[in-house]
Amino acid sequence: MMDKVIIAGFGGQGVMFLGKVLAYAGMGSDLDLLWIPSYGPEMRGGTANCSVILSDEEINSPVIDYSDAAIVLNKPAYDKFAPRVKPGGVLIVNSSLAKLEDVRDDITIVQIPATEMANELGNTSIANMVCLGALLPSLNLVDYEKVEKTMDKLTKKRPQLLEVNLTAINKGISFVNE
């Protein structure tokens, strides 16, 4: 079983960190995994993206042609990566920053006002975690418990960030479940 996820947005929206949360959650469950960043000149001020592959068997090819899921945090990221989700897959769209017109009908699209929800929580920079929450119910190999443990480790140095991150993730989960 595999989860291939693409995450994209502006530099500064926590794209790489979101990917790392998934990757470390996989480490905690002894999964094979890859965290693949985009790197190079596009990181300076432009769009950022990374992809994460989680698998319960050995991963050979690290190249994702079509992903099982994607999180896009803005419109340029949507335009670039919506076509890369495989039919039947899931696309989480930060609808605060991406107004969609013609949408694909062969994938599940969750439009979640993540930036607004993050602002309501008093921290605009956790829109990424709201989107992670919205994605979690669709993943095969990582669930909330594993992410919670991971967040606990990742926020060791700044424990005050743990609760707000977990709240944001839970908001995302509730949004999808409702």
Partner: protein, 356 residues
């Protein structure tokens, strides 16, 4: 044993520390920078020293000097930086200095781009600089191999008194993947009776590459040739994947080597008998891997991130007894497992057979 998540470049740094390397000279360049960055943070605690040189030429010649004293030493760079180091590598080969050189290959020529490539295959395997020499070249394809091969590189360098190159690429360098930080297997003591460490109480030793007469020059060349022949005989490494009963073989190393494994598995599901030979040493090229297959297999495809460089060695290894084709991507692009399979089906007319 500890299983951790690290970037490929950092893994090389950690493996160097655990290999007993004490000196690193380098000059940062994307996508290799994390090697020097990681060592800057972690080397001093392990008793090592990182020195950022004024440029790549300075760095490689510092490696030369350090190696003359018997120290385990490493440098790392990326394609254009490795070009700058070639003169120093040639001198190091001539003086037979053990050192480990990491090339995190990015696409070229010229300044090129930052994406992964295998465009430095010729440079890595045919000498690279002037003069007729070879460096042992290892091609990792996973995080674990980055770790294991870095350790192996130091031992090979000492064993043969020769520079060893690790040919990584931008993808492997930047990606995070789990790695088991194995303890280093106990290495034998290597002969260090040639080093210059102060001659008080013994005869002077001279480490220099100049040959005063043509007669001495030829004698030196014959000596090195013999050493290289010995390495070719004893140090070839490769992995076979579904090769034994294969009718067609992919040949690929590094990042594309692992992509090809997925291609092979997909082909097998469709009933196509495809296999893979994945060279691990690029020099010495693993000719021996091809001996059982050269009268048996119907055709081969090399999968490379260049205009076709390793394909020349494959054609020599199979003595051109079968068609050998090339599938390649360039400029920092990676192929998908499916596009490779489409090419194989197309080239060998397998589509119908596969679906039947």
């Amino acid at each position: 044993m500890e299983r951790v998540l690290m970037k490929g470049n950092e893994i090389i740094g950690e493996a160097a520390i655990r290999s007993g390397c004490k000196l690193f000279f380098g000059y940062p360049i994307t996508p290799s920078t994390e090697v020097i960055e990681y060592l800057s943070a972690n080397f001093p605690r392990a008793g090592g020293t990182v020195l950022q040189a004024e440029d790549e030429i300075g760095a490689i010649n510092m490696c030369y000097g350090a190696s003359c004293t018997g120290a385990r030493v490493m440098t790392a760079s990326s394609s254009p930086g490795i070009s700058l180091k070639q003169e120093g590598i040639s001198y190091s080969a001539a003086v037979e200095l053990p050192m480990v050189i990491v090339n995190v290959n990015r696409c070229g020529p010229g300044l090129g781009g930052l994406g992964p490539a295998q465009s430095d295959y010729f440079q890595s395997t045919k000498g690279g600089g002037h003069g007729d020499y070879r460096v042992i070249t290892l091609a990792p394809s996973t995080a674990q191999e980055l770790y294991d091969f870095t350790m192996q590189a130091f031992d090979l360098a000492d064993k043969h008194r020769n520079p060893v190159l690790i040919l990584s690429d931008g993808f492997l360098g930047q990606t995070m993947e789990p790695v088991v930080l194995k303890e280093r297997p106990k290495a034998p003591e290597y002969d260090k009776s040639w080093i210059v460490n102060g001659s008080k109480g013994r005869e002077k030793r001279i480490l220099a590459s100049y040959s005063l007469t043509n007669e001495i020059g030829e004698k030196n060349n014959l000596y090195w040739e013999k050493k290289y022949n010995g390495i070719q005989e004893t140090e070839q490494q490769w992995e076979e994947f579904y090769a034994e009963d294969a009718e067609y073989l992919l040949v690929s190393y590094g990042t594309t080597g692992r992509i090809c494994k997925s291609t092979v598995l997909n082909a097998r599901k469709k009933g196509i008998k495809l296999g893979l030979i994945r060279p691990i040493t690029l020099w010495p090229f693993p000719d021996k891997a091809f001996i059982p297959y050269k009268d048996k297999v119907k055709g081969m495809v090399t999968v490379e991130l260049n205009t076709g460089q390793m394909i020349e060695d494959v054609k020599l290894a199979v003595e051109c007894k079968m068609p050998v084709h090339l599938y390649r991507r360039q400029g920092g692009m990676l192929p998908t497992e499916n596009e490779i399979l489409n090419y194989v089906e197309d080239k060998f007319g397998l589509s119908k057979e596969g679906e039947a």
